[in-house]
Amino acid sequence: MSYFGNIAKGIKTLLTGMSVTGNYFLHSRKGAITQQYPDNRETLKMFDRFRGEVVMPHDENNEHTCTGCQKCEIACPNGSIEIIWDRQLDPETGKKKKMIDKHIYHLGMCTMCGLCIEACPTDAILWAQNFENSVYDRSYLTKVLNKPGSKVKAGIED
């Protein structure tokens, strides 16, 4: 009697589905995921995995961990990253060494694919969770990620 079996199975699966959505309905008060954005601007905290823009964190001594290896520049599929570098004399060892001058990031071109961050061997660049990225002139979207006067953290290249 698979005919009636089918009916019973159909009803059962429909009720299962309805119980799932009904459960969501009853808990919608607590779990509403809507962010009423301009109202909660002060308190809104974006989720950790949100991809706002690529940033380069600096520590208190104004040091970052970017070695200028250019892996991110190569990894970027649309050329949003440009690294201007130079060989300079390392004051400690006296040898010539590759150092970044500017790590240029074009936010306006970035597709938020995350490949540069994957590629970076020293985790020098990360996702920031900021979301208010609109500006009045697109030249503001071209950012230099390393702060002026910053240098690479000692020992990171070893």
Binding site: I7, L14, Y24
Partner: protein, 354 residues
């Protein structure tokens, strides 16, 4: 005039005292029509709002909450916006039919509202073939949909309209048969008498097993009749644009939209009247206050409307062959069996009466 227009006796008597009989009854009819139109235009708008809120809660959202307190004026604002929109049309559309279609749909759904007993007194048109009238009127709406889809000279609209035709023709049968099952118990098609019978227990209790089966079939077929998800092949957004009303804009679109929601209300109201005792309160707890009948009626109707919304936000859309399989291979044979079962129950006096 043997049409019993009994909304309020006072207005009735007052009208007849100041006018000759013929003019008075026409005035009365016009008054009632205006009252119904006003009430149900607003009620339709609030049903749209309810749908949006319920949908939001099912999806863990908040829903409209900006216009008015708690978003209560949102759909009013939408309606105002739609009124102010330009009415566009397609080239080489059949202008006459194109313009006629929305009125067909809205008029047929408003006509069906006339026969519902909202309470003992609040009952515009107590026709003695009530259930039949409802069935007939609710299937006229599909003509409007077919006309709209065909005349707008758009293949999406045409496909949507044809699907609607297929769907309505098939599911009409189930709606009719499941209501017929209940008519076996009541022995009358007149809605006021159907309610009278239910004073000894709502029909879903009186008819127990076959009544519950009939109710389930009715809910499935009724949802299909209103072209709502999971049976919304007619306006499947991902396949057909907006289906039969793709080419409509402004107020004509709003008529289709409103008619859909009024139809949903009608299907729920039929279910409330026939299975759940209409304006009767459970165990007669508020029998002494007849006015509360409206509250009970609307309460029951809204619960069933909520059930239909629950369906909509849970189930995925059916394919056209699945739709027809469901009707012709499952609902229809079950319905016929159920009819025999109910006949046996009534014949052997197995109904539960209080």
């Amino acid at each position: 005039m043997n049409i019993s227009l009994s909304i309020t006796k006072n207005i009735h008597e007052w009208l007849f005292s100041i006018m000759p009989e013929g003019i008075a009854s026409i005035t009365e009819m016009v008054l009632i029509a205006v009252v119904y139109l006003a009430i149900f235009a607003v009620a339709g708008l609030y049903l749209v709002l309810l749908e949006r809120k319920v949908a939001a809660w099912f999806q863990l959202r908040i829903g409209p909450n900006r216009v008015g307190w708690w978003g209560l004026l949102q759909t009013m604002a939408d309606a105002l916006k739609l009124v102010s929109k330009e009415l566009t049309g397609t080239e080489r559309a059949d202008k006459f039919l194109y313009n006629l279609a929305p009125y067909f749909v809205i008029v047929s759904s408003l006509m069906a509202l006339a026969v519902f007993p909202f309470s003992q007194e609040f009952h515009a048109f107590d026709i003695n073939i009530g259930v039949l009238f409802l069935m007939a009127i609710s299937s006229i709406g599909v003509i409007g949909i077919l006309l709209g889809g065909w005349s707008s000279n758009n293949k999406f609209a045409l496909i949507g309209a044809m699907r609607s035709g297929v769907q309505t023709i098939s599911y009409e049968l189930s709606v009719g048969l499941s209501l017929l099952t209940m008519v076996l118990v009541t022995g009358s098609l007149q809605l006021s008498e159907i309610i009278e019978v239910q004073k000894n227990g709502w029909l879903i209790v009186q008819g127990h097993i076959p009544a519950v089966i009939a109710f389930m079939i009715y809910m499935i077929a009724g949802t299909a009749e209103t072209n709502r998800a999971p049976f919304d092949l007619v306006e499947a957004e991902s396949e057909l644009g907006a289906g039969f009303h793709t080419e409509y804009s402004g107020m004509k679109f709003a008529y289709f939209f409103l008619a859909e929601f009024i139809n949903m209300f009608i299907i729920a109201a039929i279910a409330a009247t026939i299975f759940f005792g209409g304006w009767l309160s459970p165990f007669g707890i508020t029998e002494s206050i007849p006015l509360l009948g409206v509250v009970w009626f609307l309460g029951k109707t809204l619960v069933i409307v909520f059930l239909m919304m629950w369906f909509r936000w849970t189930f995925p859309r059916l394919r056209i062959d699945q739709l027809l399989t469901l009707e012709w291979k499952y609902l229809l044979p079950l319905n016929l069996l159920n009819l025999i079962l109910m006949a046996l129950v009534v014949w052997l006096n197995l109904t539960i009466q209080f």
